[in-house]
């Protein structure tokens, strides 16, 4: 029945609804450029979301872990074959996204007799200088975007919009230090997560009392910080750095749970 164009369009449209629903609870991922590298941060529920791809490349993904693994495998193969057959300098996030991940996602999305990938991806590519850092995001339908300064993955369009607007409005990129980049990333993560929670609540209760003062349209700082405190109780902070200063070819460094928790505690205590 899908040979009729209308049916096919309808099926693809249904697919979008299905994928949006599946991804609704995905934990956002924020990546920010700073002078000595790139920091990527998120919270997870025991399943990692951030991975090393190649010497100067990190991958973040939200969605179904099995789909993320499949795509991670594909990009690892591409990156290492390219790095070996040509050179590590030829392994770029842009090429991996445009000629690897995005076409795979698009094909799976449009093949309506097969299951699509339930995932959204972010690639952070560390440049030799901060102005050369690039961030590539890819939606489940293969649509990709390239940006500089920061990159964001969020499960809903609203949350993505909020977080992007916040990051554009607050400060210049690259950030001067890891401390500042870390705090900005976590604060932005808190905004996106808070927004997603509001979206979720509004779906559960589509007609809240319009004058209810407990449902603000945009959160203030204290609400974001409280939201981060609440999140800490049932999710683990996951944070990695692509380190521009390291002397080894691999720049990927995991920030330990202890260090991450200390940094977050310091931020929650001191951020005005």
């Amino acid at each position: 029945m899908y040979e009729e164009p209308y049916r096919w369009v309808e099926a693809v449209s249904n697919r979008r609804q299905y994928l949006d629903e599946q991804l609704r609870h995905g934990s956002p991922i924020v990546a920010i450029s700073f002078h000595e590298g790139i920091v990527l941060a998120t919270f997870n529920q025991k399943t990692p979301k951030l991975y090393e791809v190649y010497d100067r490349l990190a991958l973040g993904g939200i969605g179904h872990p099995a789909d993320l693994e499949t795509l991670r495998g594909q990009i690892l193969d591409m990156a290492h074959l390219e790095g070996f057959q040509r050179s590590p300098s030829d392994v770029t996030g842009s090429r991996l996204m445009k000629y690897g991940l995005a076409p795979t996602l698009k094909q799976a999305y449009e093949e309506i007799f097969k299951a699509p990938f339930i995932t959204k991806l972010l690639l952070a590519d560390l440049g030799l200088r901060p102005e050369h850092d690039t961030f590539l995001t890819c939606d489940y339908d293969g649509t990709f975007e390239e940006s500089t300064g920061f990159g964001v993955l969020a499960s809903s369009a609203d949350a993505h919009e909020h977080i992007t607007a916040y990051l554009k409005a607050h400060g210049k990129y690259p950030r001067p230090s890891l401390d500042e980049a870390f705090e900005t990333a976590l604060y932005a993560w808190g905004m996106a997560s808070w927004q997603q929670q509001q979206d979720h609540d509004s779906v559960k209760d589509p007609h809240p009392p319009s004058d209810d003062p407990t449902v603000p349209l945009t959160p203030d700082k204290n609400q974001i910080l409280q939201h981060l405190r609440d999140i800490q109780t049932n999710k683990d902070l996951e944070c990695v750095v692509l380190d521009r200063q390291t002397s080894t070819p691999s720049t990927y460094r995991t920030i330990s749970q202890t260090e991450g928790t200390q940094r977050l505690a310091s931020m929650l205590d001191h951020r005005p």
Binding site: G73, L76, H80, L81, F84
Partner: protein, 262 residues
């Protein structure tokens, strides 16, 4: 992604062959131009870990091809290979190993074990045996690293067919090795203290002296050229990782403790 994290298998699936075999036997004396080779590389256990060093000369017959060759190559954050033999094959082996280790780590989300790394090198040497026997690509490397499971530094050396031997205190390979093998054995057995009790500076000075000695008797081993600021490559492997000894430090120690004896 192949689920075993096997990069060599991935390469093969893409049509890459590390060593097309079998190769016809080519007597070395008939090779024209002469094969590039010649080396002294060694690894010595000292009190903090392992010090791995190599001279910098590559030769082809009587010709010095290059005097700044890097023969001690880092494969990852805890292991190195010191190459002796045909550089073309040895460098390719090192590249395959480096990518294999990082592909495994990134795909399996854990480091390859020390034994796994040794096995990877053995397999490459066995694959290379036709070329080694044909006289066109013999490699006899030293592999050294920190075994995080057993929390100790280790040294292994190989013959050109891939036989693996553990160097309990030290290992030497290359054309200059006969000169210094006996010296190391003597020092380890009958000097005031065994090599494993040497501190880092003592170990560096010892290796400088040994490489100068090897260069004295082996034309394929490069010596030390102070005017050209040309010193051997030395890397210290400890629990903390790999540190390359800076050439400025080598110059200082050479001037203070080695040169006036030469």
């Amino acid at each position: 992604m192949n689920q075993q994290g096997d990069f060599v298998r991935l390469l093969r699936e893409e049509g890459y062959q590390f060593q097309p075999s079998p190769m016809p036997h080519v007597p070395t004396e008939t090779l024209s131009p002469a094969m590039t080779q010649g080396t002294t590389v060694l690894a010595v256990k000292y009190q903090d870990g392992v010090l791995v060093a190599g001279d910098r000369r590559a030769t082809a017959g009587n010709i010095v091809m290059y005097d700044r060759t890097e023969k001690v190559l880092e494969l990852d954050r805890s292991s190195v290979i010191a190459i002796a033999g045909a550089p073309a094959t040895a460098f390719e082996m090192a590249r395959v190993l480096e990518h294999s280790f990082k592909y495994y780590r990134r795909s399996q989300l854990q480091d390859l074990s020390f034994e796994g790394k040794l096995r990877a090198l053995t397999k490459l040497l066995k694959d290379n045996s036709p070329a080694a026997l044909a006289g066109t690509g013999a490699v006899a490397p030293i592999f050294a690293g920190y075994d995080s499971q057993q929390q100790t530094s280790k040294i292994f050396f190989y013959d050109i067919l891939g036989a693996e031997f553990e160097g309990v205190d030290h290992a030497i390979s290359g054309s200059g090795s006969p000169t210094i093998r006996g010296i190391l054995h003597y020092l380890n057995r009958w000097s005031e203290q065994p090599l494993s009790h040497y501190d880092e500076e003592q170990a560096i000075v010892l290796i400088l002296k040994l490489l100068v000695s090897a260069a004295e008797f082996d034309s394929a081993t490069g010596g030390i050229n102070r005017e050209a600021h040309l010193f051997p490559t030395m890397k210290c492997i400890t629990e903390q990782g790999i540190v390359t000894v800076p050439s400025d430090r080598l110059r200082m120690l050479f001037d203070a403790q080695v040169a006036h004896h030469v």
